[in-house]
């Protein structure tokens, strides 16, 4: 607990509650004081305060005590009265304005962080002018008649030695001059201690005269009460004091040198002595005396039981007397005011017990008298006394509270007293660290008078800050409140100050609603003060206020632009939040040796292209991943890391802006900021409005708008974009910079102009971007900073290529002839072009002469003779890099056209990548070669779904039944199935039933499905085996599926059919299981029946070709056989069983001789049949949609299975194989043999003769090991079902 004797409150009380002295003086005295630029009071003031006046004091109690601190308050008689309201307000106002002007300087200072605010001691935080302000407030309440400590204790009469008849002056100064009403209206004792001071000015007049006068005075007024005061003894008014004691007392800041410039040491000493003598020898004893006298009277009249009773009774009687408020109800000689005086004197002499006891005594009386004002005053004093005694703080607070409320109850007349009491109360609480309560008190003080309330609220705020724990939010809140009040009585500087304080609270938090409000108003007020930079800085904070209501956003924006207009300048703002750039979406596209035909191609990721270009790019490049390494020998070292771009070719940067607001904004002149420097002067880069680092920290600067972007158009061009964004819209802006001369180009940032007034600038070198690039959006694993460094080299030719009339959407199998066009705008030619296509299955090179043939008719058979039948050579298709012939590449001013075959091989969305490699003629350039990258997306819709099923023909050898199922999957297209061809040397294909049987054959409406049967004949015979190549063309079998003779068959043996057939084979190889000689490839060619043939942009295809490769034909075994014999036999079983002769033809399709063995087995065990069926089901693959019969796999188990199934009705086989149960014979390659068989049947019925098996193995043991160990050397097959019906022959027929 702090000792109350040295708290702030104590100091205040010393100032406020201390003996008052009325000063009367003649004008001449004032004049002589004026020499020092001081009034008499001002001159005496410093010496009327005693920090240690060591005077023994004896009040009511007998033992004396020593008084340390003491002070006299000097007033001219004219000032001893309450100030008028206006005057008081005026003084307050001036105090505040003065204070505001004083701390205008720190308004621009750095914003304090809230942490630091907490830690800083309250002293430097709380503005120092609060004391003055409070003092003014308290002084305003002074000299009310209801309290005695303001009543003058003594009267100081000062007469100059130059006055004629000084004695007379002394007398009538007191009598004539207008005395304050306090003395007249009897509220205080007019008999007052007088002290006569003769002021002598040494500048004029002799001291002797003065002494003479003094002697006379002594005679008239008594020796003790007179004194001579000599001043202005210094000869020339040049006295200097290092610490000027007057300056602190005169708050009007005039030049402080003159104060006391005529006073030398002795004068000051004399002044001091005078005041000391005055107070210690006269005032204090006087007060002591008075206290003792009064004390005796009081104790006589009021102490003791009898007096109490009498007093009470007397008051009762006094009640009914109507009291008139005009005249003071207590005259000075009334007991109450005597007690009050007693109390106050005791208080002023720091005898607080005495004071307190008297206050207690009197307060009840006042209460009974309902003299509220007096009562309150006494309560107030009691509170203070309690505090000074430092006992029972509860009582102290209770008294203060009581006084406060009472004053408040009285109403507006006591407003000042309320304030004063409140201030003292708050001080008391503060002295006891009850800051929160103090804040509450301040809050209560703040009345309707806005200026006072503003200050009080601010003090309350600081109290909250200093309370433990600090209540920051309340601190902020009250600062804001007081700020608003300051604003109301246009103390804008103070308003800004408080708001700044509040801002420190709200800065970090998520309470954006409040924060924006604070920022916004600070900005506005700064603008009013004319400090636009600060203002804009603050308003900028709230610009990106997406969370605010629409109206608020408009308000903010409007204010912002208004401020901007007021400044008249154009501001350039770093990281302007409007619109917002979202960095992760920044993309830089530039072309060094890679050039892109379309932006789409640029977006394809690099690795894909590199994989494509691997074979073409020169092998000199050790690692193609980073092409720059290759150039390192040519390039200076510093460029190694930087990208290369070519002069005259644009660098594209895609930046996406987002408008956070709900209101549309217009953004204009969006452009890149670039820094270009030519090699020759690397020292000073020709910068273009780019921001240097030191500019970054001060985020705001004014620029001359004109000439900014066009600074050095000689070096590069910038594209400017204007966009207008709706609320919440995101716009992707394509910005380009085109360097014109060689050197290094650096993309620094992007700049834009917000609705024509504010230039926003955003640097790319912010960490946001770096992080993102580390993620690897742009080229390599370099940071974006490096990625934005470009080495500009001199221009090299750049090819442009397009593929004409490449359809967006096609149907599966669509076959087209496209033309690719390559242009070279530059004069310098390029040489040895190469091309590679990512999906040869879809797109492949055609021969150039295809260009001048018209498609597709030249593919028809009859036109074969006209053109050289180019068969596809394996070499061309093996390596997919296509070399353009030299003659084209050497010279071209005209664009070069080259045909391409396009076929939509599979449905889905296909993206085709084409790269064209070419080299530049001139060796000087850094870039030796370039690649043109073309990218297309094609959407392929399903058209015909075709599936084939081949089963061996039961009747004939070498023949198979082919069932083709075609379903039209499209929704609208109609197709005409044109022809089916099977590729391969040894096949012949024919329709099962002749064409024209039904005309609708091969015409497929949308969604329709069709199935037709073919006979596939294997025409591989001995002799045709050796020269396979020669007999390639003849073997091909095409079947026309249209009845109209007009449309000829297509020749499937030539490009593009064979070309794509090759690719299809390669493609389907993967999931087809290996290719032994027993697979067939089918090509189905269909035409689309498009009646909508009008208009060149035709989307419907002309020709569709569908390839089905590796369709397995019937048997997997190389040995084929067929059984023939009678299908039905009539026999008379009465004459024994029936013998039937059968004949089996066995054919060996292999090039080697095999030995075949036929086993006939009579009975089959049940068991294996079941197991087999199980295993069979296991064998079946997924259920296929279009063909309702599956391919017959002649695998041993499945056969067995079928046997089992077939057998299931009968229990035991009713027939047996007669003759040998097994036959063995040898078969020459590609030859057949007849084997006779015989069965014996016992009863009539239909029998399935499938219970035999055929085993074969290669004879070629000696030449078997010719490398192909892979193929099967032996196998066994079960017999195929052969049904025979035996009927009973009845005699009657014979």
């Amino acid at each position: 607990m702090v000792d109350p004797a040295n708290t702030k409150l104590d100091r205040m009380l010393l100032d406020q509650i201390s003996p008052a002295v009325m000063v009367l003086r003649t004008p001449l005295v004032e004049d002589s004081c004026r020499r020092n630029d001081l009034s008499l009071i001002e001159m005496l003031a410093p010496y009327s305060t005693f920090n240690n006046i060591d005077v023994p004091v004896r009040t009511a109690s007998d033992q004396p005590y020593r008084l340390r601190k003491f002070k006299l308050r000097l007033f001219y008689n004219s000032d001893i009265r309450q100030r008028s309201a206006e005057a008081a307000k005026e003084r307050l106002k001036q105090v505040i304005t003065h204070a505001g002007d004083k701390n205008i300087s720190e308004l621009c200072s750095r914003q304090a962080e809230i942490e630091s605010v907490i830690t800083t001691a309250a002293q430097e935080l709380v503005p120092s002018w609060f004391q003055n302000f409070n003092k003014e407030l308290i002084d305003a309440a002074a000299f009310s008649e209801h309290e005695a400590f303001d009543h003058p204790v003594a009267c100081l009469v000062a007469v100059s030695s130059k006055d004629k008849d000084p004695i007379g002056k002394f007398v009538d100064l007191f009598n004539t001059t207008q005395l304050p009403h306090l003395l007249n209206d009897g509220s205080m004792d007019p008999k007052i201690l007088k002290y006569y001071l003769l002021v002598h000015d040494n500048q004029e007049g002799m001291l002797e005269k003065a002494t003479g006068i003094l002697a006379e005075m002594r005679r008239t007024f008594g020796a003790s009460d007179c004194r001579l005061l000599c001043i202005n003894s210094s000869v020339n008014g040049t006295e200097e004091y290092q610490q000027n004691s007057w300056a602190s007392h005169k708050n009007s800041a005039s030049n402080e040198k003159q104060f006391g410039c005529f006073l030398n040491k002795d004068d000051i000493e004399e002044l001091r002595n005078t005041m000391h003598d005055f107070s210690s020898k006269h005032i204090i004893p006087h007060m002591e005396l008075k206290i003792r006298v009064l004390n005796q009277q009081v104790s006589a009249t009021r102490k003791g039981f009898r007096n109490q009773i009498k007093n009470l009774w007397w008051r009762k009687g006094k009640d009914d007397v109507p009291e008139n408020p005009s005249a003071p109800m207590y005259t000075f000689n009334s007991t109450e005011s005597q007690i009050r005086v007693l109390g106050d004197y005791a208080f002023m002499l720091r005898d607080y017990e005495l004071a307190l006891s008297n206050y207690r005594l009197i307060s009840t009386d006042y209460k009974l008298d309902k003299a509220l004002k007096h009562y309150a005053g006494v309560q107030e004093m009691m509170g203070l006394a309690y505090f000074m005694l430092d006992q029972s703080r509860k009582d102290a607070e209770y008294c203060m509270e009581n006084a406060f409320t009472t004053y408040a109850k009285i109403g507006s007349s006591c407003g000042r007293n309320v304030t004063r009491c409140g201030i003292w109360w708050a001080e008391m609480l503060k002295a006891r660290d009850q800051y929160k309560d103090a804040a509450g008190v301040y809050f209560r003080i703040s009345g309707e008078e806005p200026l006072n309330s503003a200050v009080m609220l601010e003090q309350a705020a600081y109290c909250f800050l200093m309370s433990t724990p600090a209540m920051l939010r309340k601190y902020g809140f009250h600062l804001v409140l007081s700020g608003d009040l300051y604003r109301k009585c246009d103390q804008i500087k103070h308003a800004v100050r408080t708001y700044r304080g509040a801002l420190s609270v709200f800065k970090g938090t998520a309470w954006s609603h409040i924060r924006d409000h604070v920022h916004f108003h600070i900005g506005k007020w700064y603008a009013i003060l004319g400090m636009f930079d600060e203002g804009i800085k603050h308003v900028l904070e709230v610009l990106a206020c997406g969370h605010q209501a629409k109206l608020t956003q408009e308000l903010f924006l409007r204010e912002f632009f208004q401020i901007i207009q007021e400044t008249g300048k154009t501001f350039e703002v770093l990281r302007l939040q409007l619109p917002v750039i979202n960095f992760p979406s920044i993309e830089v596209v530039f072309e060094d040796h890679r050039t892109y035909a379309s932006p789409a191609a640029a977006n394809v990721e690099e690795s894909l292209w590199q994989a494509l270009e691997e074979e073409m790019t020169p092998s000199v490049a050790g690692l193609k991943s980073n092409w720059l390494e290759l150039q390192s020998k040519i390039l200076p070292k510093k460029y190694k890391e930087s990208n290369v771009c070519i002069a005259g070719e644009a660098i594209k940067v895609a930046v996406s802006f987002r408008n956070p607001l709900q209101i549309p904004i217009s953004v204009s002149n969006v452009s890149l900021i670039c820094k270009h420097s030519t090699e020759c002067d690397k020292s000073e880069p020709a910068s273009n409005g780019s921001l240097d680092e030191e500019k970054n920290d001060k985020g705001l600067r004014t620029v001359a708008v004109t000439g900014e972007t066009s600074a050095d158009a000689s070096l590069f061009d910038l594209s400017e974009v204007n966009i207008s964004m709706q609320g919440g819209e995101t716009v992707l802006v394509q910005l380009t910079v085109t360097p014109k001369v060689e050197g290094t180009l650096k993309l620094v940032g992007v700049r834009w102009k917000l609705s024509g007034s504010v230039i926003g600038i955003c640097n790319f070198q912010s960490d946001v971007v770096r992080k993102k690039v580390a993620k690897g959006k742009i080229k390599r694993k370099k940071s974006l900073k490096d990625n934005l460094e470009f080495l500009v080299i001199k221009s090299v030719p750049r090819l442009e290529g397009t593929i004409h009339s490449l359809p967006q959407t096609v149907y599966t199998g669509d076959l087209r002839c496209l033309t690719m066009e390559l242009r070279n705008p530059s004069k310098t030619p390029v040489k040895n072009l190469k091309m590679k296509i990512s999906h040869p299955r879809f797109l492949d090179i055609a021969d150039q002469e295809v260009m001048n043939l018209e498609f597709p008719t030249f593919l028809k058979k009859q036109t074969i003779s006209s053109r050289s039948c180019t068969t596809l050579d394996a070499s061309k298709t093996a390596k997919t890099v296509f070399l353009f012939p030299k003659d084209i590449a050497s010279s071209w001013q005209t664009p070069v056209k080259w045909p391409l075959w396009f076929r939509a091989a599979a449905s889905g969305s296909i993206s085709l990548y084409i790269t064209i490699y070419y080299e530049t003629e001139d060796v000087s350039s850094i870039i030796k070669y370039r690649t043109l990258r073309i990218h297309y997306n094609v959407e392929v819709l399903p058209s015909l779904e075709v599936s084939y099923r081949i089963s061996p023909s039961p009747s004939r050898l070498h023949e198979f039944l082919v069932r083709m199922d075609a379903t039209n999957k499209t929704s609208s297209e109609n197709f005409q199935v044109h022809q089916l061809s099977c590729v391969g040397d040894q096949w012949e294909l024919a329709l099962l039933q002749p064409i024209g049987s039904d005309l609708s054959l091969g015409f497929l409406m949308a969604g329709q499905s069709l199935s037709c049967f073919f006979r596939l004949k294997n025409c591989k015979t001995r002799g045709s085996t050796e020269d396979k190549m020669s007999s390639l063309a003849k073997g091909i079998a095409d079947v026309r599926l249209v009845d109209s003779e007009s449309s000829g068959l297509f020749d499937t043996s030539v490009s593009p059919f064979d070309l794509f057939h090759h690719h299809e084979r390669l493609h389907q190889e993967r999931h087809g299981q290996g290719d032994d000689g027993n697979t067939v490839d089918f090509i189905l060619i269909a035409e689309s029946q498009d009646d909508s043939d009008t208009g060149p942009p035709r989307t419907t295809p002309e020709i569709l070709s569908h390839y089905a490769c590796h369709c397995r034909i019937g048997s997997s075994s190389p040995v084929w056989w067929s059984m023939d014999g009678p299908r039905s036999v009539r026999h008379d079983f009465s004459s024994g069983f029936c013998e039937i002769n059968l004949n089996m033809t066995v054919y060996n399709s292999l090039e080697d001789a095999v030995s075949v063995r036929i086993n006939t087995l009579d009975s089959l065990p049940r068991s294996n049949s079941i197991t087999n069926t199980a295993s069979v089901s296991g064998y079946e693959h997924g259920w296929h949609d279009t063909s309702h019969l599956t391919d017959a796999k002649v695998t041993p188990d499945s056969m067995g299975g079928r046997v089992g199934k077939a057998l299931s009705p009968e229990s035991v086989s009713p027939f047996i194989w007669s003759g040998t149960c097994s036959t063995r014979f040898n078969l020459e390659p590609l030859s057949s043999a007849e084997v006779p068989l015989q069965i014996s049947v016992f009863c009539q019925g239909t029998f399935d003769l499938s219970n035999y098996s055929l085993q074969w193995n290669l004879l070629s043991g000696d030449r078997g090991d010719d490398g192909n160990e892979s193929r099967v050397r032996s196998g066994s097959c079960h017999g195929r079902p052969y049904h025979i019906t035996v009927l009973q022959k009845n005699k009657a027929e014979i």
């Binding site: 089963s951 089901s1177 079946e1180 259920w1183 309702h1188 019969l1189 599956t1190 199934k1205 079902p1281």
Partner: protein, 186 residues
């Protein structure tokens, strides 16, 4: 024939062991959120959910058939009924109603008044177009495919999009003959 569907549904639901509903809901929610963050496309999320549902369905159907002694359904109508009354009750604890049969009895709608998946759920504006419960459609599809019905399941109404109920349209594409499809004659 299936036993009296709704009753048996309740019985089974009573018999199966449970998990806390909140846990279930939150788990599913977490999955969906993760999917959204992983593959930013809402459409992708729908696909993924459907796929997950499908995978669940193909496993779930066995348990379903085992626990609920539902015998072969004669036709699609009955199947739908069983799903609605037994299946949903058994696994979600709610019963759906079957309506909106089309003429040839291959398309119907399962109406879910309440759906434990979507408690607390509220679609943000960023992913409108998300079928939050798409996993259910996947489950139905997968389960039906296991009993050899190729179906197409789509959401017609979604409470998360402000509709009053969940409506799941089940459309029978193809009934695959279950018997072994191959004859050995030609």
């Amino acid at each position: 024939m299936a036993p009296a569907a709704p009753k048996s549904g309740d019985v089974i639901f009573a018999s199966v062991d449970r998990v806390n509903a909140e846990l279930f809901t939150l788990t599913y929610g977490a999955i969906v959120r993760q999917l959204i963050t992983d593959l930013e496309e809402v459409e992708e999320v729908n696909k993924q959910l459907d796929q997950m549902g499908y995978n669940i369905g193909v496993r779930l159907v066995d348990e379903f058939l085992a626990k609920s002694s539902v015998s072969r359904c004669v036709d699609f109508r009955e199947t739908a009924d069983v799903i609605a009354k037994v299946g949903f009750k058994m696994f979600l604890g709610v019963t759906a109603s079957v309506t909106n049969w089309d003429a040839d009895g291959t398309t119907c709608s399962l109406i879910l008044e309440d759906n434990p998946l979507v408690d607390f759920v509220e679609l943000p504006d960023t992913c409108q177009g998300l079928h939050y419960c798409n996993i259910l459609s996947g489950v139905v599809r997968g389960a039906l495919e296991m009993v050899s019905m190729k179906t197409e399941v789509t959401w017609l109404r979604d409470m998360l999009r402000g509709d009053d109920v969940f409506e799941l349209q089940v459309k029978l594409l193809k009934q695959v003959p279950e018997e072994y499809p191959y004859k050995d004659d030609e």
